[in-house]
Assembly symmetry: C2
Homo-oligomer: 348 residues x 2
């Protein structure tokens, strides 16, 4: 591979500089994306192999990140489970939210090779076009986060419904999480077989849980997914938004890389993680709404705090749709400008 900085950083191997990519790098902040998106409903777009391949490559061609991530949505395998998903501008909508044991029983564990074939086709095509210049990342939502959409019926601010289930009918929630886990294990294996060279699991909303709840309703399922995908030999990344109170538990997940949000101090997380995992992050996506100067400053600070070894520069959450493209360029360039010496760990 021409540029394997990202894979080396995932494994905490020495690198010449810190690699960089951005969560949601293929998406709405790019004019090129909006030009395609205007004509096609979102869920049609993620199923259109040609267009989704094009969109996956757009940010790489324009900004030269060190990895390409599949353009898709975490709700794709959820739809294949038998959930009615639509994604209008206001955020995802679930037509048949799951609330009862019967609802859970009615869900299927889909076969990715037939029921989400298009995702595998996109990955194969992206791999071919990227032509081993940089690695290609596959991804999925983690069980708790997917369950929160499925139970709430869409995005939520309070997560009142899934929390009610968690406190009032924990067995129903566990049954749902189990079924989602079965789905995601198959889904991620199929992605690696189709060419994904790394995997990221998005447990975005697990940060709403207390540590005790995380250990009961999120971590065991994530651990099982990582256990069942270990033999595939690709690095696995775990992301949680609002991970400050969960970080020590996340160290037990089995992931090779923990992707952390901007609220935590990367240098402190580095110390707490020791040499157990690589870290990814953690610049506040809002920085990229301001000036090139601010982007350069915050990126340089994250690189310094990340310690150089086993750090992938990224945002602390997905890039915001209103981000100016020049600020994304500055973010990617910031990683490329910092040479080895400055990126080397200062101590420990």
């Amino acid at each position: 591979m021409k540029n394997d900085l990202f894979l080396r950083a995932c494994r905490r191997s020495p690198v010449e500089r810190v690699p960089v990519w951005l969560m949601r790098q293929a998406g709405r902040y790019m004019q090129a994306y909006r030009d395609v998106r205007r004509k096609v409903p979102f869920m049609d777009l993620v199923k259109n192999v040609e267009l989704a391949t094009e969109i996956s490559l757009q940010p790489y061609r324009r900004f030269g990140m060190d990895a390409v991530i599949l353009f898709s949505d975490i709700l794709v395998p959820v739809e294949a489970m038998g959930i009615d998903v639509s994604i209008p501008e206001g955020g995802p909508r679930i037509g048949n939210p799951v609330r009862t044991p019967e609802d859970v029983r009615a869900l299927r564990v889909p076969d990715p090779a037939s029921e989400t074939r298009f995702v595998l086709d996109i990955l194969e095509r992206v791999r071919r076009l990227v032509n081993d210049e940089v690695p290609v990342i596959g991804f999925a939502g983690a069980p708790y986060t997917l369950a929160s959409y499925i139970v709430e019926g869409g995005s939520s601010r309070q997560y009142a419904l899934i929390k009610s289930m968690l406190y009032g009918s924990p067995r129903v929630l566990h049954a749902l999480l189990e079924k989602i886990s079965d789905t995601i294990i198959r889904y991620l294996r199929a992605q690696v077989e189709a060419g994904a060279q790394a995997l990221q699991l998005f447990d975005t909303w697990a940060g709403e849980l207390s540590a005790a709840q995380y250990r009961e309703f999120a971590l065991p399922y994530v651990q099982r997914i990582f256990e069942e995908t270990r033999k595939l030999g690709v690095p696995r990344i775990l992301f949680v938004n609002g991970c400050a109170a969960l970080f020590d538990d996340m160290l037990e997940s089995g992931a090779e890389v923990l992707s952390v949000d901007w609220r935590v101090d990367l240098a402190e997380m580095r110390v707490r993680a020791g040499s157990r995992v690589a870290l990814q992050g953690n610049v506040d996506p809002c920085v990229l709404l301001s000036t090139v100067g601010a982007v350069e400053k915050e990126a340089a600070e994250a690189i310094a705090k990340g310690g150089g070894l086993g750090h992938i520069l990224n945002l602390g959450h997905g890039i915001l749709p209103t981000t100016p493209e020049e600020n994304v360029a500055a973010f990617v360039e910031a990683a490329k400008k910092v040479p080895l010496a400055a990126a080397e760990p200062k101590s420990s």
Copy 2:
């Protein structure tokens, strides 16, 4: 005072049992409140001395919490600064959001005795009617949280505008925070003169900041407010939602009590705080949407983790409007059921 458990707990003095109240205990989950609210716009209600007094007392009369908190809104002093505030069902709206140095200069530091006289009248009346049965709590929003409303123009999910200001024009934000601090210091002093026997400062949205940002844009202003209200001799409580990464900095705030959200482990926070502060919290408000059994279990667990000395049982965020009243009753009773022995600290 007939029942001073709350004040003793704030000072870490011995108590027979852990005192209990709920953030936003006067409000929408109560039928009695909705009956009053139906007829009166929200901002008129907080200015109506008779009705606001009645609403402040409703939860105490119905459930017998160990403290009464003033019914009001954190945006009341903001309106008096010259900001156009309305609070429809969907959340607060600011008619003239602050974005420039000129906008900040145009804001006034209001005189509470004339410009928010109604708040002081409500407090005096509540004090008289409570008749020293339990303490009366006054409150205000903290500067960063108020600034986030003022800059965003209302509630926000991403806080993109105030973050843009923070990264791009930090001096403008500091000038705004300074002016809000001047306002809040006067406002809280006036509340104590009118009869408030404790004060809570709500820095609800400071949990969106990194620790470094918290130390620059939130903590110094909170410290100044606590410094300037110290001589009033009443205990001061600091609340932040999402405090996990900020807790050690919050210990430096000067507050006698830290009110923490449900994501952190209360027993761990107890250890980290040592004997420096009392703790308030931290049951997930979503627990109160489920069953009486779940409420009793989670309340008992919080009481056990709080260690008995210097703990006030409360929620980790404001009570949700859809909470059944019987679950509030169960929450308050849970505190009253746990006797001294079980509530005593287990070690250290």
